[in-house]
Amino acid sequence: MENNARNQVLAAVERQMPANKTAYPEMPDFPRLKTDLLIAFENRVKDAGGEVFRPADAAAAQALLASQHAQAKVICSATPEITGNRDIHAVKDPHDLADVDVGVIRARLGVAENGMVWLTEEDLEVNALGFLSQHLVILLSPQAVVGDMYDAYLRIHLEDTAYGCFMMGPSATADIGAVLVHGAQGARSLSVYLLA
């Protein structure tokens, strides 16, 4: 029966496809962002409700984290530069991350066009870290900012990871009265630490 459904859907599609075929278009070379990518990236992160910091080194980043999230009880870091108090490698089940106050992840790249950061399953260690954490701190190398989504999609490799997310600031909604509220379901805040 399973096969029957497959074959019938495919047969119907084959039969019904318009005879007049449309060619795959040539992609033009679009105008590229001419401004400073890093400054554009910073501004777009802020537009999306996030914050950007430039700690001098890993120690400064660690101190910044401590001051930014002084109340945090559980900090879980998936990146070696930052030390938390919950070992991500010991997490066997995503549910174990339900009480994380701050999740720390190193992103592979940022996008100047919109302030997105690219996080893969390999960066998150456990995907849920990116979504159950109340707050997120994202480390990003200032050299890893690309111009726009065309560039971004040339740089990521979906064939290498089961999960990848372009994250643009914290969780947001405007579902009640069209009023923007951050922290709908995912992170309440997102800070990007520019750190090589």
Binding site: M17, K21, Y153, G183, Q185
Partner: protein, 471 residues
Amino acid sequence: MGDEKRVDVAAHAAAFLAQDDVHEPMHDKNLWSARMKRDAAARAVPEWETLRQLASQIKEHTLTHLYNYLLEFESNATKRGAKIYWARDAAEHNQHVWDILREKNISSIIKSKSMLQEECGMTAFLENRGITVTESDLGERIQQLDDQPPSHIVMPAIHKTPEDVAQLFARTIGTDPRNTDPHYLTEAMRNDARRRFLEAGAGMTGANFAIAETGSFVVCTNEGNADIGASVPPVHIASIGIEKLLPKVKDLGIFIRLLSRSALGTLATQYTSHFSGPRKGGELHIILTDNGRSKRLGMPDFWTSLKCIRCGACMNTCPVYRRSGGLAYGATYSGPIGIILDPTFDESKYSELPYHSSLCGSCTEVCPVKINISDQIMQWRKVMAAKKHLPVSRRLAFGAAGKIFEHPQLFRSAETMASGAIRFTPDFLLYNRVLNPWGRHRELPHFAGQTFREWYLQYRAKNNEHGEQRP
């Protein structure tokens, strides 16, 4: 099919307008504001019109080669470890979901927004079988708690005021009924949903795009709710309409740039998530669903409606939708895109929808994949008229008008038939008196003492070469 009662969208819209002085003005204002933000976002992209053209062409290319792309997607997704199911219709889609849940003894699921799952009536189906289904998108959850379908593709509860939501949440999750602050209400739902995410045995999502080249699919949300559903419970089930395919990863550069700018005027959704096979320690089930799509693909006038990426821009811009509320359409899809999609599911039930349009054409211009929505609305009217779905009074009225316009002499005598102050009512009124509500909100036009034709005959028609042929 066709035995369900015809949806009287005009009457529902009139009721939406008449309920009070708050809902419709707010609805109109919020959606117009989304349209304005969309304009600003589009204006900031110099290649905007080129992007629309490319997106349209990529979609048309994919649809005209859909058979191969479906096979490519299936093969690549399977290689990545996803389990693929095929569903011919809604019932088969729902059965697959039920089978997966039953096999794993799952009694509670959390789902993100999926128009396909709406289309399939999946939630009711599963609830009837004892499954607890929780919508995780805030707007969808509001609608679920109020036992209503979504009224907008991307803003499901946009027809409700914060006061409405405060009353609803007070009744259902115990918030303070006097507190209408969206921050407070959102926070209350966050806390209520959190435990449901943690208890769920499976997370369900839809897909905005599916990529043949890698067997991946992309889900876009602002709340991150789809990602929680996909990353916390051990099982992820994705419902994907077969029209969602795109050939290549790089196509996403175009579509992601268009989608949220068109929908809400934002540069992208907060989360653009790419699933290529199951996550570490999890399972991924993909249900490729037809449910009328292959049939639509074979409709010469309507197949390009399959290009739709569900951004909702046509709804935001539609002056009729903004004043009607999405629920007035009585269908899964509302607004301009609903008018052209819904009749493919049930021609008779949705036969009035194509008339719920002033044919202003704004939907066509705003559509990021250049669907000729307005032309298709007109085309659906032709289908409805030809198949006699029109109400009889309307058929007779326009039939009579047609007769009059066919014969100049009849037209003249209708025009000059003196009757009190009204010598002549415009064609569409004169022959439509049964339905004529012109006067409720409008004064009748003042009729001229002399028609243009009379003036012309008196002052201009000296050489009678084009003179009237008198009977």
